[in-house]
């Protein structure tokens, strides 16, 4: 094999035309060395519409999620996400879509840029070479101030080559401190990780140094890790450094447990926002693609994000990774059919079956959570006290976390169909239990106690 390798290099010497370094965030420069990848990379600005995914390209800002589902505004009442919460677009738009969200009318942390720009040079500067320290410096800074510094340095760019590639060898690597921090938290836990063999290998080893994705991960894992730097649930505000909640595992319930055990620096219990209607302290879920993927059979079978979202494409004499990162449903022949030798229409139909089931369950869970809000408002109108509503508050937090988790995840259940259905089933169950708790909130003590008992009984 080594012979083959050397021959291969002899034939295609690695002769870069342009010099690229850790500070070369401009993809155009890299593009001189790797024009094919660069060309496909630029296509992320193009339109890619599908039933539940994709986007309309440059035509306009993507649709407000609440235009489809009014409940999406209501469940975030009193929180920035009720002001403006749209569908995603391609990588080319990640910075401008962030800049133009009305959520920025509320104060936001500088760490927002972690996943929306090529931010590493700024991190190294702020941390005098230590990127993690640099990131931790940004959370207290305002978004605007951080953005200004990044622009001044000339790095105000969407995710760029250097964010996923080591400039000398072009090897995949992860750069984002929050990911390295989070995956180490996962490695140090005892959560089962059948889909991440290198983590188990590290656990079984000497453990004389922390798990290091760039040293320990297999190439297959790296093909998902680079995406896991951003497509994950997170906490990002000026109260606490940017955090990926992986200390108990990657399932929705594991992340919930992690947040429930988290305390703010001032020692008060963690929460994202107080719901304006009910006053409950809730947690927000953001795009947990990496986490949901990890619960599916594809992850277990070693199928990486890049396999479906950056499939190889024949290009003249060579074969390259399609850097037009997009919905696989507009690229089925490359994204699916190499492994599934089934007609394109049949593959579409299989995905539709999974996504439609998931969508129906999503609306069912949303209806339950909406009924819960009505019930809690009614109870308050009857004069129920916060103390009396405590059981309802807890159930609202559980139910909304689960509803939001699958609603915020971007594959409409495809990444792990059974797991997603389970999370939505729990959401509906907890929401209805919350309604019962609200109805009973101001009932005579005895009844209330009985109710509480029954509620816990059925957790």
């Amino acid at each position: 094999l080594n012979i083959r390798e050397r021959q291969s290099e002899a034939r295609a010497p690695f002769a870069p035309l342009a010099q690229v370094t850790e500070d070369t965030t401009d993809p155009e420069v890299w593009g001189r060395n790797w024009p094919k990848e660069y060309d496909s990379y630029k296509r992320t600005a193009l339109e890619t519409r599908t039933t539940y995914g994709g986007h309309g390209g440059s035509e306009a800002l993507p649709q407000e999620k609440a235009d489809r589902d009014p409940w999406r505004t209501r469940i975030f009442a009193g929180y920035a996400f009720s002001l403006d919460y749209r569908d995603r677009r391609g990588h080319a738009y990640m910075l401008q879509d962030q800049e133009s969200t009305k959520r920025l009318t509320k104060p936001q942390s500088g760490s927002c840029l972690h996943c929306h720009a090529s931010v590493m040079p700024l991190y190294r500067k702020l941390g005098n070479g230590d990127a993690k320290a640099g990131m931790d410096a940004t959370y207290k800074m305002t978004y605007q101030e951080t953005h200004a510094q990044l622009t001044a340095m000339g790095h105000a760019h969407p995710v760029a080559c250097v964010d996923c590639h080591e400039p000398k060898t072009m090897q995949l690597r992860v750069t984002r401190p929050a990911f390295i921090d989070g995956i180490q938290r996962l490695a140090n836990s005892d959560a089962p990780v059948p889909q991440l063999p290198s983590v188990q290998q590290w656990r079984d080893g000497k453990r004389d140094r922390p798990y290091d994705p760039n040293l320990d991960a297999t190439r297959t894992e790296m093909r998902s890790y680079v995406c896991g730097q951003c497509h994950v649930e997170y906490y990002c505000s000026t109260k606490m450094p940017l955090t990926f909640p992986w200390g108990h595992g990657l399932r929705a319930r594991d992340e919930e447990q992690y947040w429930n055990e988290t305390k703010f620096p001032d020692g008060t219990p963690f929460y994202d926002f107080e719901h304006k209607e009910t006053g409950a302290k809730l947690i927000k879920a953001q795009h947990p693609e990496f986490e949901l993927w990890s619960q599916g059979v594809h992850a277990r079978s070693g199928v990486a994000c890049a396999d479906c979202h950056m499939p190889y494409m024949r290009d003249g004499a060579g074969k390259i990774s399609d850097h037009w990162v997009r919905s696989p449903l507009v690229n089925i022949n490359r994204a699916c059919q190499t492994c599934h030798h089934v007609e394109e229409d049949e593959i579409k139909a299989r995905v539709a079956t999974i996504q439609n089931r998931n969508h129906e369950l999503l609306e069912r869970a949303a209806a339950a959570v909406t009924d819960l809000l009505d019930a809690m408002n009614a109870a308050k109108a009857r004069g129920a006290t916060a103390a009396q509503l405590q059981a309802a508050f807890d159930l609202q937090r559980k139910a909304q976390w689960r509803l939001d988790y699958i609603a915020a995840e971007n594959s409409m259940g495809f990444h792990a169909p059974q797991e997603a259905a389970m999370v939505l089933g729990e959401a509906a169950d907890y929401a209805r239990q919350g309604q019962l708790a609200a109805l009973r909130a101001d009932a005579p003590a005895a009844a209330a106690a009985a109710a509480a008992a029954r509620v816990t009984a059925s957790h």
Binding site: L1, S8, E9, R219, G302, Y312, G318, K319, T338
Partner: protein, 174 residues
């Protein structure tokens, strides 16, 4: 099960292969298969029939025979693999003690990967080039996505009943 004879055959197979000459027992074991790269000789063992049938329908049957994919193409490795596989296969076929369905083992998987590259590296050199030198064998495995090129969708056949299949103590009540 006539052990001595079996042993004799398999040893002879090994020796014969290394020397590249055949004998009576050798011939009986069709071990000469391993001197040839003609797919038909592989199916002297019916055990190989499913793979043979599937190969005939595969995208490669016109361009690659069994040996092209499953035998190394550097001289030593080629003869060593022929000998080892010849030994394993004959032993397996004689003792019937191998795992069924047959699943490729790591060593032969490496041979296979090398052969994919042998024919296709012009096409995939970028993929190979960006692999991580520090971890040999960590390049993308072609079969991760192309497992079907040799035999279509996975083929294989479960083996006959073996004592281990039965609960102990086996107590049929019919």
């Amino acid at each position: 099960m006539p052990m001595p004879r079996t042993l004799w055959i398999t040893l002879a197979v090994l020796a014969g292969l290394l020397l590249g000459v055949g004998g009576v027992t050798l011939h009986e074991a069709r071990a000469l298969s391993y001197l040839s790269s003609d797919p038909k000789v592989c199916v002297n063992c019916h055990i190989m029939q499913p793979q043979f049938d599937a190969w005939q329908k595969s995208s490669h049957h016109a361009v690659a025979g069994c040996g092209d994919c499953h035998l190394p193409h550097d001289f030593i490795g080629k003869w060593l693999t022929k000998a080892l596989n010849g030994y394993h296969h004959s032993k397996g076929f004689t003792l019937q003690d191998f795992h069924e369905p047959i699943m490729i083992k790591p060593r032969n998987a490496r041979v296979l990967q090398a052969n994919c590259l042998r024919c296709h590296e012009d096409l995939v050199h970028d993929l190979v080039r960006t692999r991580d030198r520090s971890r040999p064998g960590d390049e993308l495995q072609c079969v991760h996505c192309h497992a079907s090129v040799g035999h279509g969708d996975t083929v294989g056949l479960g083996g006959p009943e073996r004592a281990a299949d039965l609960p102990h103590p086996a107590r049929p009540t019919l």
